[in-house]
């Protein structure tokens, strides 16, 4: 019964964040525009041999996703504090873990949308589709975004309210999320080179990372929410 109530509260929190973004698009619009700009900038000097291009594009795809996605993560708690909603969030009759998981879900949806826009932009601008094997790429994207959202949400909550929030967020997020970027790049390259065994190992690493940080976040979030 408690689990159903928690799931319902989780859904309403996710719904609240998505609805707010739909009514007044601030974070997503900026994030998607940055992603498009990055995709264009990356293509400009790209004069690589055709054989090397897919591997390079895989790496650039995930780097663009990371830098543009940081914008969404940065705003996920900063917005709450600026609008004075943080106190309201603390007063919700839900566990801190539910609040954390709802923020992860919101960021996960944002990162998936970002991946969609980047895929389209990379395919149009470079002429190479990263969706050679859509199922495998989808599994990679789901695991990578889940891990990124799990760490990023925690880092965003940790740095919310700090004087130099954005700078500190990038500084603590980049080293923590580096395994996700490396594994996502490795998995994407394995897909493009049709090495399914290697892809599976990278996917396991991504899944392991997501599971570890989701667990840590669920356990530690109550300490971040104390203020």
């Amino acid at each position: 019964m408690e689990l159903i109530q928690a799931a319902r509260a989780w859904w309403w929190l996710v719904h609240k964040d998505l609805l707010r973004e739909m009514r007044a698009p601030r974070t997503w619009a900026a994030m998607l525009l940055v992603a498009l700009a990055l995709a264009m900038v990356i293509q400009l000097p790209l004069e690589l041999p055709a054989a090397e291009k897919p591997a390079f594009l895989g790496a650039m795809f995930w780097l663009s996703a990371f830098f543009a996605g940081t914008l969404s993560l940065d705003r996920s708690f900063a917005g709450e504090q600026e609008d004075g909603c943080w106190q309201g969030l603390l007063l919700y009759p839900v566990s801190p873990a539910t609040v954390y998981l709802s923020k992860v879900a919101g960021n996960f949806v944002a990162l998936c949308a970002l991946n969609g826009v980047l895929l389209l932009a990379f395919a149009l601008l470079s002429g190479i589709s990263l969706l050679a094997q859509p199922g495998l790429f989808l599994a990679t994207a789901v695991m990578a975004n889940l891990g990124f959202a799990a760490v990023g949400t925690l880092a965003s909550a940790l740095t919310a309210g700090l004087a130099q929030r954005s700078g500190v967020l990038v500084l603590i997020l980049l080293p923590l999320v580096l395994p996700v970027i490396l594994a996502a790049v490795g998995a994407t390259q394995s897909i493009l080179e049709h090495e399914i065994g290697a892809w599976w190992r990278w996917l396991q690493l991504l899944a392991c990372f997501a599971a570890v940080f989701l667990t840590l976040g669920t356990l530690l979030f109550e300490f971040i929410m104390e203020d």
Binding site: V151, L154, L158, Q164, V168, L171, I172, P175, L176, L220
Partner: protein, 227 residues
């Protein structure tokens, strides 16, 4: 505080003398007892220092995380001081790891730096430490600083397996467990033990210093002195 001073001074002196003797013995073992390596010559002796400080850097990160977890459970400032002192020494040791590794690589690989997985993971560890202290420095309120730092210290623990397993997971060229003469292995173990003892001694001294600084600050607050 004065009544305790002679006793702690005696304990500190004895421990310092013991560690100094241990390090002197390590110096003799490294420069006299250990045989000269055939391929690299005397440059190989850097390894005895490099492995020891690398071990201390990882131990510093683990101790920082465990002390952070203990703070979240117990909420006593002492655990936060342990976390900070272990982190400071861990950061110093990771700096020394990168420096000594670079010296060794210049002779072994003919380059000061290469983006080898373990080197990259160690650099990531260094940035994680830097982020930890940047966050500490950004928060004025002591309890919030301690709590946020503790959460970050626990997250930093996730980088330890990455450093340890980097060469295996990402197929790097960093030596893992090279075949060694028994005398070399003995010197390596002695060096790790000597530097671990130095690490513990310095961590304890720094923790005591932080504790005393806190006591002085409390006295100043009580006396109405604003610094």
């Amino acid at each position: 505080m004065n009544r305790c001073a002679p006793a702690t001074f005696g304990w500190n002196s004895a421990a310092s003398a013991g560690v100094a003797l241990l390090l002197a013995a390590c110096g003799w073992l490294i420069f006299v007892f250990a045989p000269r390596e055939i391929t690299m010559g005397d440059v190989q002796r850097i390894v005895y220092l490099h492995v020891a400080v690398a071990w201390c850097a990882l131990a510093g990160c683990v101790a920082m995380g465990l002390a952070g977890a203990a703070y979240l459970v117990r909420r006593t400032p002492g655990w936060d001081q342990w976390s900070q002192s272990a982190g400071e020494l861990g950061w110093l040791c990771s700096t020394l790891t990168l420096a000594t590794g670079s010296l060794w690589a210049h002779d072994a690989w003919s380059t000061w730096w290469t983006w080898e997985p373990r080197l990259t993971a160690t650099l990531v560890l260094w940035i994680v430490f830097a982020g930890y202290f940047l966050v500490r420095g950004s928060i004025e309120e002591p309890r919030r600083r301690a709590r946020t730092s503790a959460v970050l210290a626990i997250l930093a623990l996730a980088d330890v397996p990455l450093v340890v397993m980097a060469t295996r997971w990402f197929r790097g060229i960093h030596p893992i467990t090279p075949d060694m003469d028994w005398r070399m292995r003995l010197v390596l173990l002695a060096s790790v033990a000597g530097f671990s003892a130095l690490f513990v001694l310095l961590a304890a001294m720094r923790k005591r210093q932080l504790d005393q600084a806190e006591q002085v600050a409390a006295l100043e607050r009580r006396a109405g002195i604003v610094t």
